[in-house]
Symmetry: C2
Subunit: 150 residues, 2 copies
Amino acid sequence: MQKHPDLTSSVHDAGGRMTRQRRVVLEALASVTSHPTAAELYDLVRQRLPGISPGTVYRNLKVLKDLGYVQELDFGADASRFDANVASHYHVRCDCCARVEDIPMQPTVGIEDAQPALTGWQITGHRVEFHGLCPECKAQQAQSHQQEGE
Amino acid sequence: MQKHPDLTSSVHDAGGRMTRQRRVVLEALASVTSHPTAAELYDLVRQRLPGISPGTVYRNLKVLKDLGYVQELDFGADASRFDANVASHYHVRCDCCARVEDIPMQPTVGIEDAQPALTGWQITGHRVEFHGLCPECKAQQAQSHQQEGE
DNA sequence: CTATGTGCAAAGATTTTGCCCATAT
DNA sequence: ATATGGGCAAAATCTTTGCACATAG
């Protein structure tokens, strides 16, 4: 499921240089579906490039985002999360543990019809995020409620 | 358009104490439609309570949010924005100036139908945000493009 | 009176940036 | 060679928190 057939030259074409650090950041992000924070991604990347610095990860995430290779998800969490899947898709976030997952549904196409209500705005996209309790947190909460006798 | 007929007693009922600071924070937020950041709200509140501290504003925003009197909008901006309109509604954010406005449309009710795709999750809500260029930034951008001859 | 809130300032957390060296072209 | 990127550490932001005092109920 390769979204960008030739990452190296594509990114290079866009004006950047595909350094090893940049490639590893992108590959690490593309290799997981967990929507990691920058810090989590830093840990992942360090498994391959032990000497990389956090600043480099942040810098490259910003570059890759500007080039459209990565999207940033900062709905309601302390730290931004990142996603190498830039295709239009929606997310669910757990109110309890802040985990973010993809929603296996087609984007609601008709929603772009809201545009007429936005006089004067030039709309380039929209984001949808559901939130609630993930299966794990739901189970934990059920347990603790039981203990409380509530 | 008063959403909470008796703010003081309601908040008190929920366990908090309606201090002057808390009331002014809530009233200031309710008096604007600009979805201010905590810092902007702090400036607003200081017009009435010059001695208030930023920490108090943050603390009370969190309390009021937990009590359901305020919602926090942290879509893609550096700082969270706050909204005293807790009714379900959508927002537009300007990619250029970060301004946030309400969208004058009814929430897309059918969207909650995505729930079946979320096996094991207990969904409690969803958020929709459009983004693009606000009228002002669109005009500015058109001007600068003209100057560049591009 | 007593629990809760406030002011202040310090600490946390996340992210950005300046500086100088490294590296790709 | 030269421009772009990396490592490091400091700084910038935004937000939270500990503590002593104030205040609502």
